[in-house]
Subunit: 211 residues, 2 copies
């Protein structure tokens, strides 16, 4: 059986990344989502273990020191991170995992000893005004938060060239299709198909029986 | 505009490679086929410039010495090779090119200075008996030729692990689809999308106008 692949999905917020991640999981049940841990307070409607694992700062820092976080970062004063255990379980069962993390998280993940298993994809917005509109239309955040998110977005975009793939999300259906192509193709990489050695050996034996 | 990609398609003969190459060209007009040059005599129905470029041995060796062949090999006493000029023209026009060549050709092509542009795919047959049946059913070759082709096949298969992707052709429609995924995904690689730098610069300017 092949190992699962870690798909790192990064983009400025508002570029459609969360919608795309949700769609990919609906498309293929073999894909799961790496639920982040955070020290920020739950918003209305958010459930522990569904949107995030909500941890105290003490607990979060203990997990970091024990190496139980694949990556972590401080964003707007709160800690965010990807717990290692569920990811290890998933990839050993041949399940692919999507990470909705920023460029810093992506760099740390690639340096966490799982770089061979990771494929990174950056989603670019077609324009800045569209990005701003989407953030405003979510209606979740105050003007000040939107402004700081926009500044973070520009920083995020400046790291696009560190990714394996780069897509412009000018049409969500089209972008979903492109992500599906990438996932299907990455699964076909020879380096991810060590099990084919068995077929090749079988072909060799069959050939000897023929002659 | 992006540069075209060179897709190296290798497999033992009878594994369905030629059918797949034909289907891919019908699927996407942006994909062309690298027509090989050869010193062997045309078979009935073969046209110069369609199946092969038929050259004399003198002319062929002159092209090799002038560096006009991306790769070449001697197979069953005849020379075969991929002329460089049509490939250079195609990739500079952003057109992808499929190469139906063996592992030796694949290695030479990767060493010809075009390795960044090349993606290699190996097609495995599901069984040796199927391979033999397909060769016999073509009805093109004598028993002796089929036998030597089968021996060459085993040699070819032993190089599967040098390829970027590896597919088992147990269903031609399914295999065609997989090849389409690979082609679509390779086109989305960030390293093949240098033109996105223009979009990123535009986003930066838009951001400065917003604040």
């Amino acid at each position: 059986m092949r190992r699962g692949i870690l798909f790192i999905l990064s983009s400025p917020s508002g570029a459609g990344k969360s919608t795309l991640a949700r769609r990919l999981m609906a498309w293929d049940k073999n894909i799961s989502f790496s639920i982040s841990a955070t020290t920020r307070s739950p918003r209305v409607g958010e459930l522990n273990g569904r949107e995030y694992f909500f941890h105290s700062k003490v607990k979060f820092e203990e997990m970091i020191s024990k190496g139980e976080m694949l990556e972590h970062a401080s964003v707007f004063g709160n800690l965010y991170g990807s717990p290692r255990e569920p990811v290890d379980i998933a990839i050993n069962e041949g399940k692919d995992v999507i990470f909705d993390i920023d460029w810093q998280g992506g760099q740390q993940l690639r340096n966490s000893g799982l770089s061979e298993d990771a494929v990174s994809i950056f989603i670019l917005p077609p324009s800045i005004s569209e990005l701003e509109n989407r953030l405003k239309n979510r209606g979740k955040d105050s003007e000040t938060v939107i402004e700081s998110r926009m500044k973070k977005s520009l920083d995020e975009i400046s790291h696009w060239a560190e990714y394996d793939y780069c897509l412009v999300n000018d049409d969500i259906d089209n972008t979903e299709k492109k992500l599906q192509y990438i996932i299907e193709a990455e699964r076909l990489k020879r380096s991810r198909s060590p099990f084919l050695i068995d077929l090749v050996r079988k072909l060799g034996r069959e050939f000897e029986q023929e002659i």
